[in-house]
């Protein structure tokens, strides 16, 4: 693709452009680039996006077929153990790369406007570029160790960006929470990787997934339990990163980061890494069906739970955060019924509409001076029409309104679950339908509250959100003198009318809105045999839809095989039902939050216990607090006392010993050279005499 390089070499460069940008910004952002720090970031990620899209086209045109490898070099190779740094490219990788870099580019452009004048402007772009680098590494990795590197790397970038406004205690706490909760999953993932090495003696994807071991009955019988453990641990890793119950608690708090971060990392890309992991490891999961079913059940429960919580939240970003958790639940539901294609399709559409929703919300936040409480504003479509239109499209897509992208992908999942061979599949589908109703309701609750009705603006409207960042005293001075960021002071001085913001902000919104409206059709048209493009595009991916390898089942082995799906309910009927439910949800929301808002309060008062339960997010944070944090804190206190009295005591004694020795030996130090010589001779003599004694 690039002159002088092979296709795979060009692909290997995709992560490197953002890395280069991150390095450039880190080295020169503070002193040279300053408010131009966006340039390397946007250019880097745009080049990557172009390369990734051309890769997609290559696969589409069949210039590339199947799985492609390129080993760039061996990092460690020692005996039989080697860690190659290599890339693994198949349609799944290419699709992930394409939307990650494309959405990143749009969000980067948006950020230029959104973050303008912010203290630490360059820091933001350095972190964001670093994130894109790690995300691409994660997706491109051809072995588990490299994948783990990317996995930890995106976690690091997420930590840095959630804690971006590090002077705000809430941001610091949220960053720590995200990091610590992810630690649980990362540890599980690491252990899974260790076990994989023990079983397969390699970490390379192709050698694991296509190894003959996986078709060997004897091997499978011998390792059945181990494979279950591997899948279980991988699952926990995925759950932490993708915020599934019970490890979802970090994601809503992570909204403390700047809004483009929420859009990019905590909605469109990083949180789907868990889905990618399971989709990639589908060949292993199909050998551990109970775990796959657990994935589906947890996903289904999470989808429902998060949707109910979203109904009773008032902070716009938090609502979208819970909605993200809920939508991720849908994706895991699809994986649970071994329909990787449906999951990836939903990841794909979700990236567009959720990024759109977050960025539109960012525009609202920008215009309203950081205010996001939906009770404090109303009818703002009158002052920001473009944002209102874009948010409406995003809301329609999220709600799964017929004809918009979310509709097609969600429906794909529901029908996959309904028609899965697994007995409980239809249950998932029914819960999914109920969740779709709730989703439509909470989505349009936001839209009707904030954008329709009479114009009400919060007191802070017109000030810029980043000004909420409390700067250290010296930095304030720097900003005020116009040294670090010209224009910031102006923002403070004359608050202007809330608007859609600059072109850098609303242009990406419009592009994303087109995507959110249209990408769903890729799942219906454009494919071979009258199917969707996405299905035929992903069909070469090895075992993505979990058809187990042709194993000969002998009595005594428990290797479940995914039988051919049975059609229980026709997809068209399911589509009809879900359309009706969505319409119902929208209408209910319209009545309570646009036409007759007092009725909503009345109903809320009538259902006060339920509302309280949901407002408190099912008391899961409290559960963590009393079940985990407090006991651990007590344990920590106990250990601290032990440490202080016992360990410190021992250390004190040990520490005292050298001093004591020194004190005793001090006289010998007076004529040092002489005594050093004696010491050396004595050492030699002791050794020699000892050996002679032993050999006598």
């Amino acid at each position: 693709m690039l002159p002088g390089l092979s296709i795979m070499q060009s692909v290997a460069l995709i992560p490197l452009f953002p890395l280069l940008a991150a390095l450039i910004i880190t080295l020169s952002g503070a002193r040279v680039l300053k408010s131009r720090s966006w340039m390397p970031a946007v250019i880097g990620v745009a080049i990557s996006a172009v390369l990734a899209l051309s890769l997609l086209v290559m696969f589409q045109r069949r210039n590339l077929v199947g799985v492609q490898h390129l080993t760039i070099y061996h990092w460690i190779s020692s005996g039989g153990f080697s860690i190659p740094i290599g890339i693994y490219v198949d349609p799944l990788t290419s699709l992930f790369l394409a939307f990650v870099t494309f959405v990143s580019t749009l969000i980067f452009i948006y950020s230029c406007g959104y973050m303008q004048g912010d203290y630490g402007y360059f820091r933001f772009f350095a972190y964001m570029s670093l994130f894109v680098f790690f995300m691409c590494t994660l997706v491109l990795a051809d072995n588990f160790v490299l994948l783990y590197l990317g996995w930890e790397g995106v976690g690091l970038a997420s930590y840095l960006l959630v804690g971006y406004y590090y002077t705000r205690p809430a941001a610091r706490e949220a960053a720590k929470k995200a990091f610590i909760v992810n630690r649980i999953g990362d540890t599980c993932l690491a252990i899974a990787i260790f076990i994989i090495y023990l079983v397969f003696h390699t970490e390379t994807f192709s050698r694991i997934f296509q190894s003959n071991d996986l078709k060997n009955v004897g091997f499978l019988a011998a390792h059945h339990g181990t494979l279950i453990w591997i899948a279980l641990l991988l699952m926990f890793g995925a759950f932490a990163k993708s915020a599934q119950f019970p490890l979802h608690v970090w994601l809503p708090d992570a909204m403390e980061g700047p809004t483009p971060v929420s859009a990019l990392i905590h909605a469109a890309t990083m949180v789907t890494a868990g889905v990618y992991l399971i989709a990639r490891c589908m060949p292993l999961f199909t050998l551990a069906m109970p775990v796959l079913h657990l994935v589906g059940l947890v996903g289904c429960f999470t989808a429902f739970m998060a949707a109910t919580i979203a109904m009773c939240q008032y902070d716009m970003k938090r609502i979208w955060a819970y909605s993200t958790v809920s939508q991720l639940g849908y994706m895991f539901m699809a994986l649970g019924v071994a329909s990787g294609t449906a999951a990836v399709f939903h990841v794909f559409t979700h990236a567009f509409f959720k990024a759109l929703l977050f960025l539109s919300t960012g525009s609202v936040m920008h215009a309203m001076g950081g205010e996001l409480d939906i009770r404090k504003m109303s009818g703002i479509r009158k002052v920001m029409p473009i944002t209102a239109g874009c948010l409406l499209i995003g809301a329609l897509a999220l709600a799964g309104f017929p004809g918009f992208s979310g509709f097609f992908s969600k429906d794909e999942i529901l029908s996959a679950a309904m028609n899965a061979s697994w007995t409980w599949g239809p249950l998932l589908s029914v819960v999914g339908l109920l969740t779709a109703l709730i989703t439509a309701y909470y989505t349009f609750r936001v839209f009707f509250r904030v954008f329709m009705g009479n114009l009400v603006l919060p007191a802070t409207a017109g000030m810029h959100e980043p000004s909420a960042f409390v700067l250290p005293e010296s930095a304030h001075h720097e900003v005020a003198s116009g040294h670090a960021s010209p224009g910031h002071a102006d923002h403070q001085a004359d608050a202007h009318k809330p608007t859609d913001g600059s072109a850098a902000m609303w242009m990406p919104l419009i592009i994303l809105a087109c995507g959110a409206a249209l990408v769903g059709y890729l799942g219906v048209f454009g494919g071979a045999n009258g199917g969707g493009w996405i299905q035929s595009f992903l069909s070469p991916v090895h075992l993505l839809n979990g058809i187990a390898p042709p194993v000969v089942i002998t009595p005594g082995t428990h290797i479940p095989v995914q039988a051919v799906s049975t059609v229980r309910v026709a997809p068209a009927l399911l589509m009809g039902v879900s359309s009706v439910l969505v319409l119902l949800g929208v209408l209910v929301a319209a009545y309570f939050h646009w036409a007759n808002r007092r009725a909503a309060d009345a109903v809320g008062a009538a259902l006060a216990p339920v509302v309280k339960f949901l407002e408190n997010k099912w008391y899961i944070d409290e559960l963590y607090n009393y079940g985990l944090v407090q006991p651990l804190w007590l344990l920590g206190q106990a250990l601290s006392i032990f440490d202080r009295f016992v360990v410190d005591g021992v250390v004190f004694v040990i520490g005292f010993f050298p001093q004591f020795t020194g004190y005793v030996l001090k006289p010998t130090q007076s004529g040092r050279l002489r005594y050093y010589g004696i010491g050396m001779i004595a050492g030699v003599a002791v050794v020699i005499l000892g050996v002679l004694y032993l050999l006598r």
Binding site: W75, S78, T202, N216, P658, L673, G679, G683, V687, L695
Partner: protein
């Protein structure tokens, strides 16, 4: 011997170049004209570069061993960095010096010492070995004493000299025993005598005593217990660039000498009376790394701390040497203690020279700040240099992604695969202890507020050296393959000789018997021989030793029962080639795979 002269001389070309340059540099330092004197350093640098290129050329390489080439390249490379760190020694700063002779003398001495290190691996005679060791040491006595116009430096120089002479006496005494035992100073003759004695399964006490004395004497060069006492005082007393030099030159020379001397014995370690040598090495390694690290924890003077840390790193390398060389040439990293030691030596040189170079730059004056408080908060003023220092220190700790991590990894692997797990545990625990004092420096640079305003000179050379070291520490940490293959090649010089592999298939089980004539290497080496995924997954291996040989038996259970019940094959091990798998068990596995297919 006469016909050897030409070839040996060609093999020694890099050393000859270094010594000639030393002579030229000595004269240039005395030149009347200031312009010429200013060119002294440049001449030295050019000399080292020419020596490097010469060592790289095929003609020279073909006349020396791979180990010799590797050591020469390492010496010239690190020597170059050391020259940059020493670019502006006190003569430039101190108006009291007339700048007339010191400069030339100093750099000439450095070059002589480098020539000695470089010559080290090319010796084939005890006398030569002694000469090379002294060629390394004597110039260092001089630069320690004269490198800094302070009484402390002279005190350090005197101490270093006297104790060094003492140690030389000890290992020379040991040489005399070796001579008495073998009747020759020629390495090949000594090896032959050792071999014949090994086959009789006993060594006379004279040989053991000689080896013990030599090892103990040379442990002075590497600052290992029990001859480590001098290190702290001398490191602290010497000028910082000289300290940097001390942490490389004597150490590299000492370790290569130990490798050569152990090679004389054919690394016959575990059986028979000569168990004393590995036992001594093990005890020395444990004591050296532990004492070094614990004492380093207590220091506040950075140079003193580096002295103790240098002792500790010697302990790590000793731990690698205990594991011995690879069983067969080209063996994997897991078995090859010598390769691990050489790699760690290269890694340690890079990291420590980088840290010293950064320290030299930060000190401002060559005899300036030495206390940890003096570099507090320096990162705000000199972010790049502080970053280089931090990278080198992180590598010394052994952070993944740096060369130090790989070094420790290989040492631990070598120890584990040869059954020396106690050493592996000590290495890991000590690495954790060491993290405490290295991180203290990083914390001081980044977290604390500056105490005193720093007076940093404008000279770029040490800064350049530090940046180069930091870049290589990261670069080789991420892409070590080239360095690794060179080192493996160098270490193959020491690898065991070839053996036979015998495969027996019986009742669906394949037994592989590897037979090595060279004695045994401890109880280990079983797990690591069998890491080929091609093998069956259930396996059992057993190691039996008899008088003359080591027999490794592996039993494989294959997924499919084997058809032919009794088939066996004996194959002479082939010389290493990239096509064949490198280790004997894997060769055997390939054979078994072929059998199954048949």
């Amino acid at each position: 011997m006469a016909e050897d002269v030409n070839t040996s001389l060609l093999g020694l070309l890099p050393e000859i170049i270094l010594l000639c340059t030393a002579a030229v540099v000595l004269l240039m330092g005395l030149a009347r004209r200031d312009v010429l004197r200013r060119l002294t350093q440049w001449t030295a640098v050019i000399g080292v570069i020419v020596a490097f290129v010469a060592a790289y050329s095929n003609d020279v390489q073909s006349h020396t061993t791979a180990l010799g080439t590797f050591l020469t390249l390492l010496t010239c490379g690190i020597g170059l960095l050391l020259l940059f760190s020493a670019w502006e020694m006190p003569f430039a700063m101190d108006p009291a010096h007339t700048d007339r002779h010191y400069r030339g003398e100093f750099f000439a001495m450095l070059l002589c010492s480098l020539a000695g290190v470089s010559m080290m691996a090319k010796v084939n005679n005890l006398i030569w070995l002694f000469l090379a060791l002294e060629l390394v040491s004597i110039p260092t006595y001089i630069v320690v004493a004269t490198g800094r116009g302070q009484s402390e430096a002279q005190e350090a120089g005197i101490k270093y000299f006297f104790l060094g002479a003492l140690s030389a006496a000890i290992y020379l005494f040991g040489f005399s025993y070796l001579y008495g035992f073998s009747g020759s100073t020629q390495f090949s003759a000594i090896t032959a005598v050792f071999q014949s004695d090994i086959s009789r399964h006993q060594l006379p006490w004279m040989a053991i005593l000689g080896l013990l004395l030599v090892l103990l004497g040379i442990s002075y060069k590497i600052a290992a217990v029990p001859l480590h006492f001098y290190a702290a005082d001398v490191y602290q007393g010497a000028a910082t660039p000289v300290t940097a030099f001390l942490s490389f030159a004597p150490k590299a020379a000492g370790f290569v000498a130990i490798i050569l001397l152990l090679g004389l014995t054919g690394w016959h370690f575990s059986s028979g009376p000569d168990v004393t040598i590995p036992a001594l090495l093990t005890v020395m390694a444990v004591l050296t790394m532990t004492i070094g690290n614990v004492l380093a924890l207590l220091q506040r003077n950075i140079k003193r701390m580096f002295a103790y840390s240098s002792i500790a790193h010697s302990g790590y390398i000793l731990a690698a040497l205990v594991a011995g060389p690879a069983l067969v040439a080209g063996g994997g990293w897991a078995h090859d203690g010598v390769a691990a030691a050489l790699f760690y030596l290269a890694a340690y040189s890079l990291m420590t020279v980088g840290a010293f170079a950064a320290l030299i730059y930060m000190q401002g004056k060559a005899d300036g700040a030495e206390d940890i408080d003096d570099i507090a908060g320096i990162s705000s003023e000199h972010p790049m240099t502080a970053a280089c220092m931090a990278i080198c220190l992180l590598s010394l700790i052994g952070m993944p992604g740096t060369i130090g991590f790989l070094g420790k990894l290989f040492i631990v692997q070598a120890d584990l695969s040869t059954g020396h797990w106690i050493l592996a545990v000590f290495v890991v625990v000590n690495a954790a202890i060491a993290a405490a004092y290295y991180l203290r420096i990083i914390a001081a640079m980044y977290v604390r507020e500056p105490w005193t305003p720093s007076h940093v000179r404008t000279t770029l050379a040490p800064r350049f050296a530090a940046a180069l070291c930091a870049a290589m520490v990261i670069g080789f940490g991420l892409a070590p393959s080239r360095l690794l293959s060179d080192i493996r090649h160098a270490a193959d010089y020491m690898a065991g000789s070839s053996g036979t592999v015998r495969l027996t298939v019986f009742k669906g089980r394949a037994k592989i018997t590897s037979h090595f004539p060279t004695g045994s290497f401890g109880r280990g080496r079983r797990s690591s021989l069998l890491t080929d995924p091609l093998a069956g997954y259930a396996r059992r291996s057993r190691l039996a030793g008899d008088q003359n040989s080591c027999v490794v038996k592996h039993e494989f259970i294959f997924a499919r029962p084997l058809k032919k019940d009794t088939a066996w094959s004996t194959a002479r091990l082939l010389p290493p080639s990239p096509v064949l798998e490198r280790n004997p068990a894997v060769v055997a596995l390939r054979m078994s795979a072929r059998l199954i297919v048949r």
